[in-house]
C-alpha cells in the first residue's frame, strides 16, 4: 500500500516536471499564446481593481522606504531638477542637430515624443517578483493600438519597450532586463553606443561604445540614437532621454570602452507610463 502510494507520488512529480519542461520548450521565444491572452483577459480587470485598491498601502510602504533613503526630503528639488534636466537635454540635442530636432520643440510634456507617434497612457498593473526578470504589465494593449516593440516612456525618459500584447494588457521589458540593449548616443559629442543593464543593479546601465574617438564626461546626457541605414533601423525613435553618465574615467574608457549610465527614469518605482504607438519604424 505504502509502496503504491510512493510510486503514485513519484509519477505525479515526474509528470509535473516533464510538463513544465514541455511547456517551457513549446512557449519559449513566443510573445504570447492564446492561453496567456485568455488568462490575462480574465484577470486584467481584477488586477486593475486590486492595483487601485492597494495603491494607498503601497504608497505608504514606499514612502517609508523613501524616507529611509532620504529621497522624500527633497521632493520639490527633484521636480525642479527633472524640469531642468529635460530642458538641458533638449537644448544640447538641439545644438548638436538643430535641423533634426526642430520637431522636438512641439513635444509632449516630457519633451521627448517625436512627431508621428501617438502616446497611449497606461498604468502598471503587475510586476515580476524576481530579480532576474524586469518586466511590468500595463493596462493598455492591442485594443489601444499598442504593438510589440513600441517604445515606452515615463515623464523622466525611456523605460523600455513592449514585448508582448493581449487585447487589454501589454508586457513591457524594462531597460534593466538582462535581454535589453538600446542603441544610444551621447550628447553633445554624438558618440554612439549600446546601453545594457547590470542584473541586480537597476540604477546602473553600462554604455559600450561603438565609436570611441571622442571621450565622454560625467553628467553628459544619453539619448536614443534612432539610427537607420541599409534597410534596417532602430526600433526607438531618436532623442528620447535615457540617462546621464555617472562614471567616466578616461582609463576605463580607453581600456574597456565602457562607462556607467544612470537611467533618468526610476525603474523600481513606475506608476504611469506612455507607450509611443504608431510611427514609421518597424
Amino acid at each position: 500500500m505504502y509502496r503504491k502510494q510512493v510510486r503514485r507520488r513519484r509519477a505525479v512529480l515526474a509528470l509535473l516536471i516533464v510538463g513544465s519542461f514541455a511547456l517551457l520548450t513549446l512557449t519559449y521565444g513566443q510573445g504570447s499564446n492564446g492561453l496567456q491572452r485568455g488568462v490575462t483577459a480574465v484577470f486584467a480587470p481584477v488586477s486593475t481593481v486590486l492595483d487601485r485598491a492597494l495603491k494607498p498601502a503601497r504608497d505608504l510602504i514606499n514612502w517609508v522606504d523613501e524616507t529611509f533613503d532620504a529621497r522624500g526630503k527633497n521632493h520639490r528639488l527633484e521636480e525642479e531638477l527633472q524640469v531642468a534636466r529635460k530642458e538641458a537635454v533638449g537644448g544640447k540635442v538641439a545644438l548638436a542637430e538643430n535641423e533634426e530636432f526642430r520637431g522636438l520643440l512641439k513635444l509632449d510634456r516630457s519633451g521627448a515624443i517625436p512627431s508621428g507617434y501617438r502616446p497611449v497612457t497606461g498604468r502598471v498593473i503587475g510586476l515580476s517578483p524576481t530579480v532576474w526578470f524586469s518586466d511590468v504589465m500595463i493596462d493598455v494593449g492591442s485594443g489601444d493600438g499598442v504593438k510589440p516593440h513600441d517604445p515606452v516612456i515615463d515623464p523622466d525618459g525611456l523605460i523600455g519597450q513592449v514585448t508582448a500584447v493581449t487585447g487589454g494588457t501589454a508586457k513591457v521589458m524594462l531597460l534593466s532586463d538582462h535581454s535589453s540593449a538600446i542603441g544610444v548616443k551621447v550628447v553633445p559629442t554624438g558618440t554612439l553606443g549600446i546601453v545594457k543593464p547590470t542584473v541586480g543593479e537597476p540604477e546602473t546601465l553600462v554604455l559600450s561604445f561603438l565609436n570611441s574617438d571622442k571621450n565622454v564626461h560625467k553628467r553628459q546626457a544619453v539619448v536614443t540614437s534612432g539610427w537607420s541605414g541599409e534597410g534596417i533601423e532602430s526600433r526607438f525613435p531618436p532623442n528620447i532621454p535615457v540617462g546621464e553618465i555617472t562614471k567616466a574615467s578616461l582609463i576605463v574608457q580607453e581600456a574597456q570602452e565602457k562607462v556607467n549610465v544612470r537611467p533618468y527614469a526610476d525603474l523600481r518605482n513606475i506608476g504611469t507610463v506612455q507607450v509611443l504607438t504608431g510611427g514609421s519604424r518597424k
Binding site: 504570447s32 503587475g126 510586476l127
Partner: protein, 182 residues
C-alpha cells in the same frame, strides 16, 4: 491534509489571490530597495501543511498562473515552485520537528533557493549581460522578508484549512472533555 472539494476550492482561492496580490502589491512595494516575493513562502506553507503532492501541485499551478499573467515562457516558474513545494512537503513527511520556527525558517531558506532557481532557469536560456554581486543581497533580503511573511502566511493558511488537517483532527479528538465544577 484531507482534500475535500471545499478545501480544494479554498486552496484554489488562496493560490489565485496570492498571485494577484504578489503582482499588484508586493512586487510594487520596496523596503531597503527590495520587493518581497511571497509566492515561494505560500508554496512552502502549502507543502508543510499538505505534504509533497500538495506542495508540488500547488507549486506547479501557482507558477503556471504567474507565467500566464506575466506573459513569460510557461513552465519556468512552475519548475522552480514544484521543487520548492516538494522540498517543503518532504520536510514535513520525513522530519518530526515541531517548532514555531520551522515554517518561517523553511520559507526563508526555500525563498533563497527559489531565487537561485529562477536565476538558473534564466541562465539556461542565456543571460546576455553582466550579473552584479548585488543580486545576492537582493536574494538575502527577500529571504529575510520571507521569514516574517512566511510566519503570517503559514498561520493564516493553517487556520483556513484547519478542518482538513490530520494532526489537528487528532488533537481535537484527544482533547480532554471539560468537566464542569472540577
Amino acid at each position: 491534509m484531507i482534500l475535500t472539494p471545499k478545501i480544494v476550492a479554498r486552496l484554489i482561492f488562496v493560490g489565485l489571490f496570492g498571485v494577484l496580490l504578489q503582482l499588484t502589491f508586493f512586487s510594487q512595494v520596496e523596503l531597503f530597495h527590495v520587493s518581497p516575493d511571497v509566492l515561494p513562502a505560500l508554496v512552502v506553507s502549502l507543502g508543510l501543511l499538505g505534504g509533497t503532492m500538495t506542495g508540488a501541485v500547488s507549486g506547479f499551478a501557482i507558477g503556471f498562473l504567474l507565467d500566464c499573467l506575466l506573459i513569460q515562457p510557461l513552465g519556468g516558474a512552475s519548475l522552480v515552485l514544484i521543487a520548492v513545494g516538494y522540498a517543503a512537503g518532504t520536510f514535513r513527511e520525513r522530519f518530526e520537528i515541531h517548532s514555531r520556527f520551522v515554517a518561517p525558517l523553511l520559507c526563508a531558506l526555500l525563498t533563497f533557493a527559489a531565487e537561485l532557481g529562477f536565476g538558473a532557469v534564466e541562465a539556461m536560456f542565456g543571460i546576455h549581460t553582466d550579473v552584479s554581486i548585488l543580486v545576492l543581497r537582493d536574494m538575502l533580503i527577500k529571504s529575510v522578508f520571507a521569514f516574517f511573511l512566511g510566519w503570517a502566511i503559514y498561520a493564516g493558511l493553517r487556520r483556513l484549512v484547519r478542518p482538513a488537517l490530520v494532526d489537528e483532527a487528532t488533537v481535537r479528538r484527544t482533547r480532554r472533555p471539560t468537566v464542569l465544577g472540577a
